[in-house]
Amino acid sequence: MNQPVIDATSRPVIERGLRLQWEAAQNAHVLLYPEGMIKLNTSAGEILKRCDGAATIADITADLERAFATSGLSEDVIRFVVMAVDKKWLKLQS
């Protein structure tokens, strides 16, 4: 099986069966999956909530850089998406 190429034009989306949700009681975004939960740190939550299958990684990066008034995040975002695809948290919209 070929690994999908992940670059600035990829459009990631949360995998089927998983759900991203803000939990006030934990003051965090969580990723819910069958019988388990991953409590996300701020960055992971901020990236994942932008992964709607329509936005490209370039869009997501630009939006994050705007929201946090910073720059140079694209490598971090790509690295995170690669990890999240590998863990089956995200898939790439074709």
Partner: protein, 404 residues
Amino acid sequence: MAETPVLDVPVQPRPKVAMRPEPIAAARPGPPLWLLCELTYRCPLHCAFCYNPTDFARTAAELGTEDWLRVLREARALGAVQLGLSGGEPLSRDDLEPIVAEAHRLGFYINLITSGVGLNEARISALKAAGLDHIQLSFQDSTKQMNDFLSSTRTFELKSTVAALIKKYEYPMVLNVVLHRLNIDHVEQILDMALRLGADYVELANTQYYGWAWHNREQLLPSRSQVERAEKTMQSFRERVGNRMKIYFVVPDYFERRPKACMNGLGSIFLTVTPDGTALPCHAARMLPLEFPNVRSASVGEIWYDSAGFNHFRGDAWMKEPCRSCPEKSRDFGGCRCQAYMLTGDAANADPVCDLSPHHHLVTEAVERAERPGAGSPQLEAGEKPLVFRTERNSSTLFGGRDR
């Protein structure tokens, strides 16, 4: 000042209660993140390894729909987010759909833990529409004959049909197979079957010895060589199929030298409500000599934060030696309170699975007995001491259950 995203996501692996343990002496516990609703003890199967209490036949009437909806609302308000709907067989309840609908409206991630008996297209379609997130389907074995023997009914073909329905309704397909002496040698066939059915996840869960499984322990405990063989088979299968199907192997704790961090410590994240409304910090805890509250007479908040039953094993003040002074106590919390109680008669003792426990020999002796010849031969075993299947009748006649 801009916040630079930090990408070290805290990842907790499965199985089950997959969250980071809080500090052991937390003054006030966090919320009950995991709510397990055992909707009923009724079940069309009669599995000899069921963890349900052997005297289930004498428990009081089941909670009604409104009671369950109230439990859901109160638990969610506290921060509960993972919901298990289990039993018995939860599909035996004809109000499962409205319960799911309310849980979904509240924002729970809803797991149905089922044998699949009673799941037809009309019901799965209604459950999907109500917002059910996930179905875990249990299999007893990969062959029809063994599956039917171990669950004491004819369900294998039905489960194959249900597996197809689960795929059709686009659920992640999670198969759970409880392993024990009589089926552990079939791990290869079980995994082959799972792959054929299109499973995304397979849990090979070695039997934990509570309830009916405890009663049948001498018949169900595998030998060490069986366990090692199964693990090796599973490993090479895992290498062969890669990411396509994730395999989880829950190691049988009798073969370990350290106990499991049971429930991440009682009363830390896990709350079970049994069919009659009794609230427990673990689904086996009803056996403990403690008074546990009931949702009919107390709110979930009072139960979680204020009841004696839930506070008893929080922190480490209850611990005895060798746990009390053990540097590992914040990792495993002394293991399982129920196992300590069943094996030693004192729930505050170290779990005898731990080789630092003065009672560890109780575990190793059971494992040694499992080395006797005749392993894996149900007929022979049945001749020595029959498996006792989980039936209402056995519950009444053997374990003091009474008619409801």
